[in-house]
Symmetry: C2
Subunit: 181 residues, 2 copies
DNA sequence: TTAAAACATGTAATTAGTTATATGTTTTAA
DNA sequence: TTAAAACATATAACTAATTACATGTTTTAA
């Protein structure tokens, strides 16, 4: 997929909060931001070099222990400008969700297909787990009104993800019960 | 993104319904199936060659008019087996939705950010349009109970898409009204 | 009759993303 | 004290997907 390099903006956005190393950024993709965007370190390190070449970030080398070199990256004003431009610009394209299960369903022709109950049940479990996970996150990451306003955007998208999964689960349940016996 | 070549199965699935040319398949990605999956002809033609080399499909050449050659592709039993295997196998990975707007929101820190109203309003319009479009499709593609059972999977995923967009619109509206003045 | 649109098939170049390979250091827990 | 886990950075190979390039035919409507 070639999709206009959003990774660069994620990195700028994260560096806009605090200086980080490539390793730190990679960790972020395994946790926090990894909830809705993924990237491997093999994508992160080259992107950091490109951003630095473009004059959006700089790095300083720090030594950890005896000799382990860390490159701590900072955003610079030009990078902040690029980040703001990206956020401020419109987002007129709705990205189609490429959900493999949905794709498989498309090729199931009748409601008597014997594979349907098993397929739907598997997805129900997966999405119920996901829903539980998101509910857990909401209460641990945003326990108070104050924490919600501190990180408003993140709070909003977690709410949205929760709504989406709730809807997914409802749809699967409803479809399962409507199946002919 | 490297995601296990789902295109091959979409092509097998479509050829399982009727023989088609590469051009027909490309058209399908602009209409029907294009609602939730995209592919360009530059992906379709090479994939057809690979599927034929694997022994999943064959083609016959027909002449249109004086000399325009069409390659009409047919699925063969091995291809039908591969298609069934794919559908029957579990689908244990939930694909994360890479929604650019959601990504931007993540970097908006406070509910007083002056960009929020405009950003949310733009998305509201886009998703309202999408919702309307899906409602239109539901009534035109599946006007009767009979048409719904004839193409059950397609009906289901259209229902699901409708629910998803309804939820998206609700979330955006609710967020907009909850914003501080 | 003719020009534009649609039909029809391909390859090349580039970008995005995953998986694999490579190398070494520091910290932690058995 | 030592082995495993975590820290830290980087490149290579490969797959997927978009955009651009390339060529020609048939149909439709002005």
């Amino acid at each position: 997929m070639a999709q206009k390099n959003k990774l660069q903006f994620i990195i700028l956005g994260l560096l806009n909060q605090q200086p980080l190393t490539g390793y730190d950024l990679t960790k972020a993709f395994e946790h926090e931001i990894g909830e809705f965007w993924q990237a491997q370190h093999s994508q992160v390190y080259p992107q950091l070099k490109r951003l630095e070449a473009q004059g959006y970030i700089t790095h300083e080398i720090t030594i950890s222990g005896e000799k382990l070199e860390k490159k701590l990256y900072h955003i610079v004003p030009a990078g902040q400008a690029a980040l703001t431009t990206w956020i401020t610009a419109g987002t007129p394209e709705l990205t189609a969700t490429k959900d493999e299960f949905i794709l498989k369903l498309y090729f199931v022709r009748t409601n008597r297909d014997p594979r349907l109950p098993e397929m739907l049940t598997e997805q129900l479990h997966l999405h119920q787990d996901k829903l539980e996970h998101l509910q857990q996150r909401l209460t641990t990451v945003f326990p108070t009104k104050a924490t919600q306003s501190e990180n408003f955007g993140h709070y909003l998208i977690l709410q949205h993800a929760l709504g989406r999964e709730t809807d997914y689960v409802t749809w699967l349940k409803q479809t399962l019960t409507a199946l002919p016996k």
